[in-house]
Symmetry: C2
Subunit: 311 residues, 2 copies
Amino acid sequence: MTETIVQKIAIIGVGLIGSSIARASAYIGAAETIALYDADDDARKRLATLELGLVAESAADACRDSDIVFICTPVGAVKAAVEACVEGLKPGAILTDVGSVKANVAKDLSTAPGHVHVIPGHPIAGTEQSGPDAGFARLFDGRWCVLTPLDNPGEGYDDAVEVLTAFWTRLGSRVTTMDVKRHDLVLAITSHVPHLIAYNIVATAADMEEVTRGEVVKFSAGGFRDFTRIAASDPVMWRDVFLNNKDAVLETLGRFSEDLAALQRAIRWEDGDALHDLFKRSRGIRQSIIDAGQDSAAPNFGRDAPPEDVD
Amino acid sequence: MTETIVQKIAIIGVGLIGSSIARASAYIGAAETIALYDADDDARKRLATLELGLVAESAADACRDSDIVFICTPVGAVKAAVEACVEGLKPGAILTDVGSVKANVAKDLSTAPGHVHVIPGHPIAGTEQSGPDAGFARLFDGRWCVLTPLDNPGEGYDDAVEVLTAFWTRLGSRVTTMDVKRHDLVLAITSHVPHLIAYNIVATAADMEEVTRGEVVKFSAGGFRDFTRIAASDPVMWRDVFLNNKDAVLETLGRFSEDLAALQRAIRWEDGDALHDLFKRSRGIRQSIIDAGQDSAAPNFGRDAPPEDVD
């Protein structure tokens, strides 16, 4: 049995990420006590049967005596969650989150009283599923967790960052720190705009009156099915991401559209060389991602029958 | 041992799809003899060691006495491949292909002499890998194979379509027939435009001077990595697809861009309801694809640690 990192953690908002933190913490023994709270009545009832930790009757109750408080709501709900927690936050507690946008969330977390250490965070991990049943203990294994520490923190802040870093590391994450603005720009291209595009193409397909939905489903193995997985992600979470990272998303989207217009032109003018050159460039980046341990090297992510099965 | 469907097949162009047909046919015993030819010297040398079938010295040699000839080159090379086969095609032989575009390819296949049965075909299956080593016998298992029979065929054509249908069915495919123009439009939205968009976003990311390539790789698990898989597909194959399905691709791309502009506007004006409504709609189509057996229901395509591992 390894030592615990802290005595008690609280998880406010127990969906895919929150429940995965609970599961991982319990499995790995990173905290002695895990308190859970979700503002949704049904979610709280479900939590009572899942046995992921002690289900509190209020956010403040969950926070009481907690060394780390993880706000795991959609980013648009962080501010209200912090307000609900305030009464229970002990001096020196770490207040962190898991949202995919950091600049706006940092402001919302910073409405907490000065005696807590606000450390915005973002584990770059997830699946297209949501809710407390969707989480699993290994979700963070080998994935990056970005912390965006504040610029002018109070005393003891560095130690707090060390504790939170140790916690995420124990859950399997690789931890790094970043400036909030930079985080939001990098995530716009690696996550937000890809999701927006996936949602968009699924909508375009659904609206094509000459093509039936049945045909789209039937022939989806040609590439489309991959986009539908991403586009099956939680609508509330993603709405909040786009509303809270507007500038970086619009900037990145502008570049994407310019590049797409150039590709469109190459097709119209049958410029095969331009198409081939651009297509060829992108193989390298795939290999880098596999080499970095951020994706499976198996063809089709390994979801279809592997060669060794019958060969 | 099940009965063979035909005595001999020839595969011209032995990459991912061609080598998978060879492997599946051999494994399942769908043909007595499998002849292979690839115009590329290195590929032919590799084939000699892979033992997927008899490696012929010319396309015509491979075709001799073959009941079915599968042209498995990129679609831009089909015409030249047919020319190279002509001398060896026996009367009554079936001449088919596997290309992702059917209208242009149907014309190219139809340059074959009148004594063969031209049946354009398209198995909707593949991976991001290419070359003869990338194929596997189960690639077509449960996947649709579309045949686009000609409008004014010669005598015995219906029987030929039946034989080809039986062959693909034996390889595990579900076979359907479609009009060529409709095929090309449906595939534009289910396959061609998704690939173009994936290539495009990988290029946009690579060109963003404020974000380093290392950051893109590091944080790719947020969604981007899925796009890089599709964008790792064979550049020559895809160049040819876009050049040969220009009209349907441009039409579909126009719709995609219109829809994206509307989403962009919703973000700019912070219209959360519009975003939420659109995001919510797309979950249903994912479920339909899973129900239709065209994708894995496992979160993240099952590539990350499954819940049951540690939970």
